[in-house]
């Protein structure tokens, strides 16, 4: 535990904050495996998340192959198809995106950007990773269990999730899935406490909240939301586990299956939907807010310009965080709930577009007349803005009840959320990796490979998901294993499906190039130096790169300014690090 002066009666002297006592590992095991260093934990989180994400990527290929060439790949039967859908969705949303943004980037960047030596509860932080790994292993165990993983869809709606007609419903699949989610939430809570309390208590001297980089604001807000939203998934998972294993009827109505009356009766599937989406909608922003934060920093650094409307950016994040808790039932317009609710939730859903739009305007205005360097992180950041606007606009369609009802359960929805929640955050993740890889490893990623990776991924993702909107408007349903030739699947639509599959395979192949680049550059990349992007934030000011245990040498940095002093008129360089004081002879109002 970090020892910050604890007696309530001694105020901290304004000029001196005691340095923290750091846990020092003694062996190889405690340095690299059971490490309590947030940077090592961050890398462990990231590698695990990316590995399991690759599994989900392969699953999406298999689904696409089935949709393009039905009947050709005989090992993909209907059951397998649903299992692929379910695992792909669950892994991507929770085990990849949430874990990578909060566990990966959160762990790496929070202490470094705030000028702290480590997280405030390093031991709980370590446990968080190991429980996450256990959750991933339990999830993967589903593939090897009798009956295979669950095929209930990533939303796991009862009653079908635990009936025998659904793959894994009466086998191990659903039990393993629910157990894995419960473990994930326990592990996340341990990490989440760290991220929140470190932001509250671990900041360097002079680092006021309003001097924090927006990356930290995004991760901080998202973590607070996740801590409050994940319990809903926990409750839903525990109750469904009871229904499945112990025969209770929280969610299960009376059902006759294959002529036999099941022992359940009276339960409410809608109750599950409420609990699930009470988690599920904030989850969208749990992924989006860190992405918003990171992309703000990428744009500012690579356009050599201060972020436009910093305060508004912070407020917008907080408002989005709060509003996201009162929009959940827009996922349930077709569940038969009271229409008045539909009106309420449509209104809140459209209101949340306002702070989101403010953020988009601010990014664009940051770029306006900036000194834009089209580096790879910048390319990905620009790709994010375009994709996010695109996905956000279709969100406005779907937020309205009358538009949603006919479009619900079509490929339009698939296209929408892949744009807004799939491609957009992934763009930020890649941008962030290209941006911070030099800090993590001390070497730059290869430029040429990076550019190929960006263009194939960006254009390819559009070619995959843009046509899907048309399929959806045509009426092509989602979740169908096989469409045959029908009104909603004329030969032209089928050709489009083949095209989409080809693009999906191409984009997937580009990720192999990225992985190769990441491995190759570890040895052969250009030497990065301490601050290759000439950025202001504290993680670039560490004495050595990669940062040592304890992050900053003997003395912790002191923060004198906000994170966005780029191209300040009269300054000798086009950036002023956060830990560089103003000259003594200058008045404080010089910047105005």
């Amino acid at each position: 535990m970090v020892n910050i002066p604890s007696s309530i009666n001694d105020p901290i002297p304004a000029a001196e904050v005691e340095d923290v006592e750091l846990y020092h590992p003694h062996s190889w095991w405690t340095t690299y495996v059971f490490s309590q260093d947030a940077k090592v934990i961050a890398i462990q989180y990231s590698l695990t998340a990316i590995s399991i994400g690759l599994v989900a990527l392969v699953l999406s290929w298999l689904m696409r192959l089935q949709l393009a060439f039905p009947g050709v790949f005989t090992f993909i039967d209907a059951d397998r198809y649903y299992q692929f859908i379910t695992m792909h969705g669950m892994i991507m949303v929770i085990y990849l995106l949430t874990a990578l943004f909060l566990g990966g980037f959160g762990n790496y960047l929070i202490p470094l950007m705030l000028g702290a030596r480590d997280m405030v509860f390093p031991y709980a932080n370590m446990l968080s990773y190991w429980i996450y790994l256990l959750a991933v292993l339990v999830l993967v165990a589903g593939f090897f269990a009798p009956g295979g993983p669950t095929g209930a869809g990533w939303t796991l709606y009862p009653p079908q999730a635990i009936l025998s007609g659904t793959p894994g419903g009466q086998d191990w699949g659903i039990i393993l899935m629910l157990s894995s989610l419960i473990l994930f939430i326990i592990g996340f809570t341990m990490g989440g406490l760290n991220y929140v309390v470190t932001v509250l208590q671990g900041r360097a001297r002079g680092m006021t909240l309003m001097r924090m980089p927006l990356t930290i604001w995004g991760i901080f807000t998202a973590t607070v939301m996740a801590l409050l939203a994940f319990p809903a998934l926990f409750v839903a998972s525990v109750m469904m586990l009871f229904d499945r294993v112990l025969g209770t009827s929280f969610f299960m109505p009376a059902i006759v299956e294959m002529g036999t009356q099941l022992q359940h009766g009276g339960g409410s599937p809608i109750l599950f939907q409420h609990l699930f989406w009470f988690f599920g909608h904030p989850e969208v922003y749990i992924v989006a807010l860190p992405a918003f934060g990171i992309v703000s920093d990428l744009i500012s650094v690579h356009a050599r310009k201060n972020i436009f409307g910093y305060r508004m950016m912070v407020w917008a994040m907080v408002i989005i965080g709060a509003l996201s808790f009162v929009v959940w039932a827009h996922h349930m317009y077709v569940s038969g709930m009271n229409p008045n609710f539909g009106f309420f939730f449509a209104t809140t859903t459209l209101i949340i577009a306002v702070p989101t739009a403010i953020k988009v305007y601010n990014w664009v205005l940051t770029l306006w007349r900036g000194d834009i360097h089209l580096t790879i992180p910048m390319l990905f950041a620009l790709g994010f803005i375009v994709t996010f606007v695109n996905g956000g606009l279709t969100g406005l369609f779907l937020g309205n009840v009358v538009v949603d009802v006919p479009l619900s359960d079509t490929m339009f929805v698939v296209a929408h959320f892949h744009m807004v929640m799939g491609v957009a955050p992934i763009m930020v993740i890649f941008g962030a990796i290209y941006h911070w890889y030099p800090k993590i490893t001390g070497r730059m990623l290869d430029e040429t490979m990076g550019r190929i990776h960006f263009w194939v991924t960006f254009l390819g993702a559009y070619l995959i998901f843009f046509p899907m909107h048309y399929l959806g408007l045509l009426g092509a349903p989602r979740r169908y294993y096989e469409l045959g030739e029908s009104v909603v699947n004329p030969p032209s639509a089928h050709d489009l499906n083949i095209f989409i599959t080809m693009m999906a395979l191409t984009v997937g192949a580009a990720q192999v190039l990225f992985l190769f680049n990441a491995a190759w550059s570890l040895r052969h990349g250009k030497d990065a130096g301490g601050n290759p992007w000439r950025a202001t934030t504290l993680e670039w000011q560490t004495p050595t790169t990669p940062p040592p245990h304890g992050n900053f040498g003997k003395e912790l940095p002191v923060v004198y300014r906000w994170a966005y002093d780029y191209s300040v008129p009269g300054a000798p360089e086009d950036f002023i690090p956060q830990n560089e004081p103003d000259p003594e002879n200058r008045s404080r109002e010089h910047a105005s």
Partner: protein, 234 residues
């Protein structure tokens, strides 16, 4: 879902109150400083672990409120038969109240540097907490032997689920409390034990409140209260 929304609204007001003190309207781009300037203190003087526990309790609160939300929603359906409450629950409640009071006494005697009183109060709190858990198990046993088994009726299911979840949280707290008690009996002076006793007390009071709420829920008083609120609103 109204219970969780009310809980979150309460939490939001705490967050807003906190944020109001954080100078969120300042203009950081105008406020660069010189090395000789005086620095604002950026962290709270409340011990970090206490803040950590506070955040954790907010999460635990959300968890139980969500269970309660689900309880209210499920209760509205037709197959609901309220479960009779075993009389031993009153004894358990008393035990938990005593445990909480004892911890509060341990806390104040630690603050007054009274090592003996602190030790005895801690032990009393530890023993009564174990008594609470044993009593809860006894209550389960009684219900089962009367035929109120888990899967019979949703009211039963919720009773076992929520009391079980509460019991698990008490058990977790007991692990920490046992360590604190052990250290104190090993001769740890009050000054050093104070913080951990304060943390235990904070957690214990919170779990007591949770227990009182769910006890009221199962006894049916909470429903009367909700009905009164509804009538007042319409």
């Amino acid at each position: 879902m109204s219970a969780i929304l009310i809980f979150l609204a309460g939490l939001a007001s705490i967050i807003i109150w906190w944020m109001a003190q954080q100078r969120l309207t300042s203009k950081p781009w105008l406020e660069s400083a010189r090395a000789s300037d005086i620095f604002p203190v950026t962290r709270s003087q409340i011990p970090t672990v206490k803040i950590g526990l506070g955040v954790f309790l907010a999460v635990v609160g959300a968890l139980f409120t969500l269970f309660i939300s689900a309880y209210f929603m499920r209760m509205g359906l037709q197959d609901w038969w309220a479960i009779p409450l075993p009389g031993v629950l009153w004894v358990n409640t008393a035990a938990l109240v005593v445990s909480s009071i004892a911890l509060e006494m341990a806390k104040s005697s630690a603050q007054q540097n009274d090592a003996n009183a602190m030790r005895i109060a801690l032990l009393a709190s530890f023993v009564t907490a174990i008594g609470f858990l044993a009593g809860q198990l006894f209550a389960w046993h009684e219900l089962v032997s009367e035929g109120y088994v888990l899967a019979d009726n949703p009211a039963n299911s919720f009773f076992y689920l929520i009391t079980g979840m509460h019991g698990l949280h008490i058990l977790g707290g007991l692990l920490v409390l046992s360590r604190t008690t052990f250290n104190v009996w090993q001769g740890e002076p009050p000054k050093e034990a104070r913080l951990s006793i304060e943390l235990c007390a904070m957690y214990w009071h919170f779990m007591l409140i949770v227990w009182l709420v769910i006890f009221a829920l199962f006894a049916g008083w909470a429903n009367d209260f909700v009905d009164i609120c509804r009538q007042l609103l319409t």
